[in-house]
């Protein structure tokens, strides 16, 4: 463990930590005051807060804990080996203040995460291992910028070309490497039955989550609650999370389709609690987010894994392909299928406008917005690009733009 692990919170860290807790509480309170609030969402709101108090999250967990960044590392392998996983992401503006030593133009998600990781530099609560797929440059350099404050970092070298044999077998090697690393961490050997069961649990979770997506498409489930549920993925045991989704589904089962106008697609950079600025502003402007392709919302799952060869190799191969080939993160060289996904989802769900959210410093999305805008406009969709960060100062300006955008739909 690193030398800072035993260090207590300094005054400034304590102050910022408290501010961040207030930020979370404030957002949770305002969500609870909404007309569409229901106690069925309490579990997800509480779960989201776990990342602030990892000691609470760890209380009932005797297993080793691994933090996962990005959506390309298969949590199924962790689960099969009895390693608890926690999603590494942060939407807190206050947490960013603890990473003021980092580049000014750094992506807000990583800046906030870096700050949040500095809240808890105690070995008792921080994850035993950090699994980081090399998706973008900020992610790659994060451990270095944190000056070795992270205990164990396991990089997964992500091949950015998906459709050639070399890159696919390279990624499979990385998945095998992850398996080996986790076997050492857990002291267990990966066995067929555990891996198969784990894949099934996550498949079931995906199936339930897919129903939530359906409900949102139909206008039954409000987008903001969908976002909260998606954001809480991997903050708790997967079966428990799935059970609570089932409760939500049962609540909305009887509801009829709501015919909503001003239906929009939200694309682009991650939206993570408590930074719900963009979805809330879109809602305030009178538009409904019916679909998205955000890696912290609809894209938390790459889809269910199906496998014919139920050997360990067969299942690892299925996982590796699912988490690589099916991923439409802009970090890959080829974005045709990502554009197609937007076009098709929008086309089949009476969506007329696409709002592209770019977090300042989030380069892959920024770069991609140009080609996506061109292709969407060619097909007759309205397109609005919003570049912002976690600060609230520009909210009024964005709202005015969103209201103007609504009139064009």
């Amino acid at each position: 463990m690193n030398n800072k692990s035993s260090r207590g919170k300094t005054g400034i860290t304590e102050k910022i930590f408290k501010k961040t807790i207030d930020e979370y509480d404030c957002e949770i309170e305002s969500l609870k005051k909404r007309d569409d609030y229901s106690p069925v969402f309490d579990y997800f709101l509480n779960t989201i807060k776990i990342s602030l108090f990892p000691e609470n999250g760890r209380k009932n967990r005797v297993n080793p804990l691994a933090g996962i960044l990005c959506v390309q590392a298969p949590p199924e392998i962790l689960h099969a080996l009895g390693v608890d996983s926690i999603k590494l992401c942060s939407g807190s503006i206050y947490a960013q203040r603890l990473s003021s030593d980092m580049p000014v133009l750094m992506c807000p998600v990583l800046k906030s995460l870096a700050g949040a990781l500095r809240f808890h530099n105690s070995a008792a609560v921080s994850p035993d291992c950090f699994i980081i797929p090399t998706s973008c440059d900020w992610v790659v350099k994060l451990p270095e910028m944190l000056n070795q404050e992270l205990p164990e970092v396991h990089f997964l070298e992500l091949p950015h070309i998906k459709e050639n044999e070399k890159s696919q077998s390279r990624w499979l090697e990385e998945i095998y490497g992850l398996k080996d690393r986790l076997e050492t961490l857990s002291g267990k050997k990966l066995n067929k039955r555990n891996l198969r069961d784990s894949i099934r649990k996550f498949s079931d979770a995906w199936a339930e989550f897919n129903m939530l997506i359906e409900y949102r498409r139909k206008g039954i489930l409000p987008n903001i609650w969908f976002t909260v549920i998606a954001n809480s993925f991997l903050q708790d045991d997967i079966e428990k999370w799935t059970e609570h989704i089932d409760i939500v589904l049962r609540k909305y089962k009887q509801d009829k389709n709501e015919s909503t106008d001003s239906r929009v697609f939200l694309a682009g950079s991650p939206v993570f609690f408590p930074n719900l600025k963009i979805p809330l502003l879109i809602e305030e402007a009178g538009m409904h987010i019916i679909a998205d392709d955000i890696c912290t919302c609809e894209r938390i799952f790459p889809g269910a894994v199906c496998c014919d060869d139920m050997t360990i190799h067969g299942m690892l191969k299925a996982l590796s392909e699912r988490y690589h080939k099916a991923c439409i993160c802009p970090t890959f060289t080829d974005n045709e299928r990502r554009v197609n996904n937007i076009l098709n989802t929008a086309g089949t769900n009476e969506i007329k406008g696409v709002i592209f959210h770019v977090l300042k410093g989030c380069h892959p999305y920024d770069i991609e917005s140009i080609t996506i805008e061109k292709k969407l406009k060619e097909r007759g969709f309205k397109f609005l690009r919003i570049e912002t960060d976690y600060t609230k100062e520009d909210s009024r300006n964005i709202l005015t733009r969103l209201e103007a955008f609504k009139t064009t739909l």
Binding site: A304, T311, G314, E321, K325, E336, R337
Partner: protein, 309 residues
């Protein structure tokens, strides 16, 4: 669900084709699948035997206006009709030798041994083998008729076809596993036949549908792809490129996954087992049509139902 219907169909067809003759069923000599004529009491014969044997085209040219010449054309016409009607369903759903290979694959899965994999380069290289075999089975009979090649070279493909020694085993006949010492030609052919049959049994255990990678029937069926009543289509724009179809394919076809513009995705090696369609998690991407009627269309709901624990 489709997988289960397929397994039941395969087994029924196996019984029907291997033992049907004993119930008086005769389906002729034009079947586009490996219903091996060496199985006594089978209900129909593989067309490859007709093509190499006495109903091959070299005889039609000699006796164009005779009854024999008419039979050559008739058998060929029936063969084409059956292909147009059912296309590669003959391979994935009916062929008894295909079913036999699937049994070996099931055995492998039960023993927990992983499936062998070919590199993309090797897999692409193997595609050529079936054309070599096809040329071999067409040219040798022509050479026998017109160039005086020894008549023991007749039915050259049947002589080395693994179905010849293997399929009669299901009627208790082990004769074709014996060496034929008549002369050097028969001796060589029978030795080759045993070696190939053994290699295919071992190969099919470790690799799904191993023999289908080399089957000369596939290019013949593929010839009529454009006029077949069955269409295997893809809406490339809807595909997420997840690769499930490639991974699930017993003959490792990449085209279905990688195709980005063409609608028709029936590859030359496709056996229409429909595993790719069953494993596609996206709505409306892959479809199988008979004339204008849709037999199957991929959907997320089907995928979820099919894969739930």
């Amino acid at each position: 669900m489709i997988g289960r219907i397929r397994i039941v169909t395969q087994h029924l067809m196996f019984i029907f084709l291997i033992y049907g003759g004993r119930a008086g069923i005769k389906l002729g000599h034009s079947l586009p699948c490996f219903a091996c004529p060496y199985v006594s009491g089978c209900s129909g014969h593989c067309y490859l035997m007709a093509l190499q044997g006495k109903w091959g085209f070299e005889f039609a040219v000699a006796d164009l206006f005779s009854y024999e010449g008419f039979r050559v054309l008739l058998y060929f016409a029936i063969f084409i009709f059956l292909i147009i009607l059912l296309s590669k369903f003959w391979c994935g759903w009916i062929c008894p030798f295909g079913t036999f290979q699937d049994w070996l694959a099931i055995l492998r899965k039960k023993t927990g041994i992983r499936e062998s994999e070919f590199s993309w380069k090797t897999r692409d290289g193997l595609k050529k083998v079936k054309y070599v075999l096809l040329a071999f089975l067409i040219i040798i009979p022509v050479l026998i008729t017109y160039a005086g090649l020894h008549s023991d070279f007749s039915l050259p493909f049947c002589q080395i076809c693994p179905a010849k020694p293997i399929m009669p085993l299901f009627t208790g006949n082990v004769d074709h596993f014996a060496l034929d010492y008549t002369n050097v030609i028969t001796g060589t052919f029978s030795a080759l036949s045993i070696i190939i049959a053994a290699a295919i049994i071992v190969g099919s255990f470790f690799k799904d549908r191993f023999f289908c990678l080399f089957c000369p029937m596939l290019p013949l069926i593929q010839l009529f792809k454009k006029i077949s009543l069955l269409r295997f289509e893809k809406e490339a724009d809807l595909c997420s490129g997840c690769g499930n179809c490639h991974r699930m394919c017993p003959v490792d076809i990449r085209k279905v996954s990688d195709e980005r513009s063409n609608k028709a995705v029936m590859d030359e090696d496709c056996i229409l087992c429909m595993k790719c369609q069953e494993s596609c998690p996206e709505d409306n991407v892959l479809s199988l049509k008979f004339l204008k009627y849709r037999i199957f269309l991929t959907s997320r709901k089907y995928f979820i139902r099919n894969n739930r624990s």
